[in-house]
C-alpha cells in the first residue's frame, strides 16, 4: 500500500509543521511590544485589579508554563477569549471561516479553470495575433494591485451601474435559517460576485502563464511527437497527452495559491467589507486583540498546511512516478 504509507508519513509531517507554527505564533505575540492587556485594562483600574486580570488570563505565570497551557488548550480546540468581543475566539473564527473559504475557493476555482484552459489554448495557438495580445493583458492583470482592482470594479459595477451590492454578504436586515441557506441564496451570489471576480482576475495570471509554459515544454516532448506519428486526433494529442502532463505543476501551484489568496483576502475583504477571517485579522491586530489575531493566524496556517497536504496527495494520484518513488 504505497499510497497509504505515503499518506501517513505526510500526515505526520503535517503535525510537525503545525506544532512549529503554533510555537512561533505563541512566541511572536509575546515578543510584540506593548502590554497585551492594554486594550482590556482600563487605566482607572487599580494595580490589584490589573494583576487580578493578568492572573485570570494566566499572564502572570512563567513563559514555559503559559506555553504548555496554550498547547493543552489548543488540543482541546480552546483558542482563548477575544479581548474585544468578550467571547471565545473559536466561536468568532468558526463564524467567519466559511465566508473566507467560500470567497477563496470560488475565486480560485474560477481563476484556475480559466487560467488552465486559456493557458493551454495559448500554447496550442502559439505565435498568433491572439498570443501577442493576450500575454501583455495577462501581465497587466497580474500587475494590478487587488485593492485597486477591487475599487475600480466597485466604482463601475456597483456605484455606477448598480448591478452588484457594494459590500457585505447579505442585504441589510436579512436573516437566514442557516449558513447553508445563506450560501445557496441568489442574493449571496450577487454579493460574492465582485470580490470573487477581483480575486479571480488577480489570480488567473499564475495558472495561465504556468500552464502555457508547461504546455510549450511538454509539446516538445517525444511522447507528444509520437502521439502525432500514431495518427491520434489533435484533441487527443493536445488534451490527453500534452495538457494532462502540463497540468501536474499547476495543481501544486493551486495549493500555494490558496495560501497567497488568504493573504490577499485581507485586502479584498477590507475593500468589500466581507466578513471574513482576513478582515477580522486586520481589525484584531489594530485593536490589539491578540487572542483573536493569534487564532486567525493559526486558522490561516492550518488551511495552508492542509492545502499543501492535499496537493501532495493529489500529485501522487496524478503522477504515477511520484507514488512509486
Amino acid at each position: 500500500m504505497p499510497h497509504l504509507k505515503a499518506a501517513i508519513s505526510r500526515t505526520l509531517q503535517l503535525a510537525l509543521v503545525l506544532w512549529a507554527v503554533v510555537t512561533i505564533l505563541f512566541l511572536m505575540f509575546r515578543l510584540m511590544p506593548g502590554n497585551p492587556m492594554a486594550a482590556y485594562i482600563d487605566p482607572t483600574f487599580t494595580l490589584e485589579q490589573q494583576q487580578a486580570l493578568m492572573a485570570q488570563f494566566g499572564l502572570d505565570k512563567p513563559l514555559w508554563e503559559q506555553y504548555f497551557i496554550y498547547i493543552g488548550n489548543l488540543l482541546q480546540g480552546e483558542l482563548g477569549q477575544s479581548f474585544r468581543y468578550r467571547e471565545p475566539v473559536a466561536t468568532r473564527i468558526w463564524a467567519l471561516l466559511p465566508n473566507t473559504l467560500i470567497l477563496t475557493f470560488s475565486s480560485l476555482i474560477l481563476a484556475y479553470t480559466f487560467g488552465i484552459l486559456a493557458g493551454a489554448y495559448l500554447a496550442w495557438k502559439r505565435g498568433g495575433v491572439v498570443e501577442n495580445a493576450a500575454i501583455p493583458l495577462v501581465l497587466t492583470t497580474r500587475a494590478m494591485p487587488e485593492f485597486w482592482l477591487g475599487m475600480v470594479l466597485l466604482a463601475i459595477f456597483s456605484f455606477n451601474l448598480g448591478w452588484f451590492p457594494a459590500g457585505g454578504t447579505r442585504p441589510a436586515g436579512a436573516s437566514y435559517d442557516s449558513l447553508w441557506a445563506l450560501y445557496t441564496s441568489r442574493e449571496f451570489l450577487s454579493y460574492l460576485a465582485l470580490p470573487a471576480l477581483t480575486l479571480a482576475i488577480y489570480s488567473q495570471g499564475l495558472p495561465l502563464l504556468l500552464m502555457r509554459s508547461n504546455m510549450l515544454d511538454v509539446m516538445k516532448e517525444d511522447f507528444v511527437t509520437m502521439a502525432r506519428i500514431k495518427g491520434l486526433s489533435n484533441w487527443t494529442v493536445v488534451v490527453r497527452h500534452a495538457a494532462r502532463n502540463a497540468l501536474l505543476p499547476v495543481m501544486t501551484s493551486f495549493a500555494i495559491a490558496v495560501g497567497y489568496q488568504l493573504q490577499g483576502n485581507v485586502v479584498v475583504e477590507s475593500v468589500f467589507s466581507w466578513p471574513g477571517l482576513g478582515r477580522e485579522l486586520v481589525n484584531a491586530v489594530s485593536a490589539s486583540d491578540y487572542p483573536l489575531a493569534q487564532g486567525a493566524f493559526l486558522m490561516i496556517a492550518v488551511v495552508v498546511i492542509l492545502m499543501n497536504l492535499i496537493a501532495d496527495l493529489l500529485y501522487a494520484l496524478l503522477d504515477p512516478r511520484i507514488s512509486h518513488a
Partner: protein, 341 residues
Amino acid sequence: MTETLLSVRDLRVSYKVGASRIDAVDGASFDVPRGTIVGLVGESGCGKTTIAKALTRVIADNASITGGQMMFEGRDLVSLSERQMNALRWREIAFIPQSAMNSLDPVYTVESQLNEVLRRRGGLGRREARKRCEELFELVGIDKGRLSDYPHQFSGGMRQRVAIALALALNPKLVIADEPVTALDVIVQRQILDQLRELQAALGISVIIVTHDISVVAYICDRTVVMYAGKVAEAGSMQATLTEPSHPYTMGLRNAFPDLQGAASGTLTPIEGAPPNLAFPPPGCRFAPRCPFVLETCRQVNPPLETVGPNHVAACHRAGEAVELRTQAARVDTWSGKVLA
C-alpha cells in the same frame, strides 16, 4: 528482385533557421523492398532522422518537404492530404523512437498506451484490445502481468520492447526505427536487434533502421543506404556496400566502427573533421573537404548516383577505381593528416 514497398525519389526537406533555409535532405533517393530491413546510416546531422520523420510527415514546425516523392504502395506520401496521411499513420507506417523513455507518456500505463492505438486507431473493442495487448507482450517477450505498469517501472531494454510492441500493434507494413538501440548497452542492443529481426521475418514486414552505427547495419540489415550531408552517398545490398564499398565515406565509416560480434578487425580509424554546414554546402561533392582521394573535379562537380554493381549505386567520381581506393583506405595513414577545409 522483390517488389518495392517504398520508393523515395529526390526527396528534399528543408529547415528554416532565421532568414536562411537549410536543406537537411537534398535530393535523396532510395528504395525499400518488401520484407527487408534497410539501414539508413550516416553521421549526426546527415539528414537520416529527418528522412525518417518525413516519412510519417510529422516534422518540426520549421521544417517542410520542399520536393520529391515518397511512393508507398503506389501512393505518394508527399502529396497526400493530411487526412489521408493520418489514415495511414500507425496502421501502415509505424515508428520506433530512439528513446523509449521519453516517447512513452509517463502518466499512463503501457496497457493504456497500447489500448490508445488499438482502440482509437485500430477500432478494436475493449476485450479484443486486451487480448491483443497480451499477444503483443508475448510477442516481444514481456510478462503480460506487467501491462498495468507505468513506463518508469521498466528498464531501458524492456521499454524498447514495449516500443516495438506498440509499433507492431496494428500490423503495419513498414516500421521505421530511429536509432532503436543507440541508448542501450551492447548486450541489450543485440537482444533487441535479434528480436527485431525475428519479428520482421515472422511478420513479413519491412523495416527502415536509422543508425549512425555501421555495425548495427552489418548485424541486421539486408540493404544499406549511406547518407552524407543530406545526400545519398552509396546504396546497395548490405554485403556489397560493406565488403566492397565504392564511396570513400563508406570506406571511412567502416574503419571507424568496431563490429558488433566483437571480432577485432584492426585499429579504429576516425574520419577527421565534421560534416559541412548545410547552410553553405560545398559546391562539388559534399565529402570532398574530408576525402583523402579528392580530385579537382570533386570540388566543383557534384557526382550523381551511378550504378557500380548489381543493385549497387554510389555517388563518387572515382567509383571506377574503387578496388584500388579500398586498399588505400584500409591503411591508417591515408586518413590521418588530412587537411581540413
